[in-house]
Amino acid sequence: MFKNKINKNPHGYYFIAPFFISFFVFGLGPILYSFYLSFTDWSGFNQPSFVGFANYERLLGDALFFKSIGNTLIIWIFSIIPQLTIALTLALVLHEKFIRGRHLFHAIFYFPNIITPITLGVMFALMFDWQTGSINKLLEAVGAISEPIYWLNDVWLSRIIVAGVMMFQNFGFNMLVFLAGLQAIPHDLYEAAEIDGASKFQTAIRITLPLMRPVLIFTLITSVIGGLQIFDAPLMIGKGPNDSTLTMIMNLYEAAFIRYDYGYGATIAYGAFVVIAIATVITFLIPGVRKKKEA
């Protein structure tokens, strides 16, 4: 009975075709090709030669690859916690009616997101330069230090600086997402709470946060995926002492585009893919993330 009502007109397919064609050619094609490359030895000249699982064996014994995973995770944690905290706090504050010029603040906090990560990386590298950086000059001027600090020669400081770049760039974006979530919460819920005599804190914990859950989950998952792919900003800041700020994708870049070992570079890419997939699955396992909406 319903069967006849389905519109079999193929025009719909034509409309979605451009996306799928470009995805197959520019998205899926390279993904499959790099999967093939990960089983080969290829320096860019002649033809790739098939080497079976040799690259994957190499990857599993590659201490630098595992170190780069650790670095990436550390940098990600250092950036994500303050980033989401600041974003949520700012969103809650800017959502209040009594704040004047809220839209101006929205724009100001969003500005860092417009700057390319490369620029931010260069900017931070210059700011934290050992001899000529503005941070050291400032600290010297106020008398906080007598000798300049070699920021980027310290394993943890350099990681914190890279995390700082990411935080600075992304908190504004997350703030906007949170604001959108806040604005979607029906106003009568707050009014009801007010009538019942709930305090500001209670409304935030009992109404705002639970209703923000979908938005929080969205932010968390996109931050996991994005945060584990960091590349441009740390590339500008450098590998750090003892490769402490070498991220997974920087490692891939060095293999594929510095040493032109495309086969192994592709293998690292698939290694990184597995790491990111695992991290995403772990995110889903966090209590509450998969919880169904209560009736």
């Binding site: 000249f45 330069d129 001899q131 000529t132 020669n153 003892n242 510095i258």
Partner: protein
């Protein structure tokens, strides 16, 4: 309907095949024609016609193209500049996919070794290039020679380095700004360290003799044995001396801790605070001279060893339809005419020793006042060992430097450098045996 489409596909396929073979015969005819011209009397520049496609990462090649067009009025040269380090990838992609490959492509000396021994690079010796590089500076010539001994790539310049020193600071802290006297004072690294300690003491630490310990590495790196021989990592014992000098320079407060080409380094080069900088001859673009404030500001002194930094080479694509015209371009950039012009226009050092000799008594550069800098550079440049371009020597040197610089920064010893360096080589180059 199906049959019709099969027929159509077949027709298309045949058409493509025919077009391919048609091209082939055209090519052979074309080259026969041209080689006839080559064997016969030399063609005049006006007789050359056509369009040349050149790919480069270096903007000045456009000037080169313009000069060539002036001399060869019936030729048009299209120079495509791809700045940045993605040039190599772009070139590789073009060559691999056999699409839009230029007639001539530039190669940077650092990675040139990978390219010039490939089949797609034309053998320039077969076209008579040995003659062109006869009078070349030995190291410049040798870098462009392939493993089979034929010339595969040619540069139009040499890139010698030397100490650029601030004349006023040298006068104040070294007691002289005379290039010969300054050269004598910095002829060994031990002398430099002693002198540097004195400068730091005299200026209360405000002025340093050199900018960074990296200058030791930059000026000495061409003198060691190649890293990889018979697929085994060879560590020249001389590297330890290089490391010890680097370390001592830092410990004795001789350097200003300003990394090569960093922002602070550029300031010191222009404003002072550091007396001397080991710079390649092409580093002039780092000096601001809008209203002539840099005229006569520097002197040029010899570094303890002659060295070079960088170098752009030009190779011809084997499958080019314009090979003869491309070779004509190579001939042009290897000529005295272009290299003299280039020296006068840009201050880039020539590759021909004859140009060095002819201009030795006369050439001066605004930054160096009336100092005859070609003589200094020539002495430096002739000292540089002539070795062939390799696939990864440059990158492995960089790994050594990374390990060494980190150890100097953290006060570690040479054993730490070696173990870190060996780990990096093992990791990046699994085919190289590391003991």
């Amino acid at each position: 309907m199906k049959k019709l489409s099969i027929l159509l596909a077949l027709a298309l396929l045949l058409g493509v095949l025919a077009a391919c073979s048609g091209n082939d015969s055209e090519n052979t005819e074309g080259s026969n024609d041209n080689s006839g011209g080559q064997n016969g009397e030399a063609k005049a520049p006006e007789d050359f016609e056509g369009e040349l496609e050149i790919w480069t990462f270096f903007g000045d090649v456009e000037k080169m193209g313009a000069q060539f067009e002036e001399k060869y009025p019936n030729v048009s040269v299209n120079v495509s500049v791809f700045p940045g380090d993605q040039y190599q990838t772009k070139l590789m992609n073009a060559i691999n996919s056999r699409t839009d490959i230029p007639d001539i492509f530039d190669l940077e000396r650092g990675y040139m070794g990978k390219f010039i021994n490939q089949d797609f690079v034309a053998d320039l010796s077969a076209m008579g290039a040995d003659e062109l590089v006869e009078d070349y500076v030995p190291y410049v010539k040798e870098l462009g020679v392939g493993e089979d001994g034929s010339v595969r790539a040619i540069s139009d310049h040499s890139s010698p380095g030397a100490f650029w020193y601030h004349r006023d600071l040298a006068e104040e802290y070294l007691g002289t700004s005379d290039p010969d006297e300054v050269s004598a004072m910095v002829s060994t690294w031990d002398d430099i360290i002693e002198l540097g300690k004195q400068v730091a003491a005299d200026s209360n630490g405000d002025v340093q003799l050199i900018s960074h310990f990296g200058d030791v590495f930059n000026t000495e790196k061409a003198n060691q044995e190649l890293w990889v021989q018979d697929d085994t990592l060879v560590i020249d014992p001389e590297w330890e001396t290089v490391f010890n000098n680097m370390k001592q320079i830092r410990e004795e407060g001789v350097d200003a801790k300003l990394g090569y080409f960093s922002a602070g380094w550029g300031d010191a080069l222009n404003e002072g605070g550091v007396i001397m900088f080991a710079n390649p001859a092409w580093a002039g673009f780092m000096v601001g001279n809008d209203d002539g404030q840099a005229n006569g500001k520097y002197g040029l002194a010899q570094t303890p060893s002659g060295y070079y930094d960088g170098g752009t080479y030009r190779a011809v694509y084997e499958g080019s339809e314009n090979k003869d015209l491309a070779y004509e371009f190579i001939k042009f950039i290897a000529s005295e005419e272009w290299q003299q012009y280039n020296l006068e226009e840009t201050g880039n050092m020539p590759a021909l020793t004859t140009i060095y000799d002819e201009n030795g008594d006369s050439f001066t550069h605004e930054f160096f006042g009336d100092q005859k800098i070609l003589d200094t550079y020539k002495e430096q440049v002739m000292e540089i060992p002539a070795v062939k371009a390799t696939e990864n020597n440059e990158e492995i040197s960089a790994l050594w430097y990374d390990a060494a610089a980190e150890a100097v920064d953290n006060g570690q010893d040479y054993d730490t450098v070696l173990s870190k360096f060996k780990d990096s080589v093992k990791n990046g180059y699994p085919n190289v045996d590391v003991e």
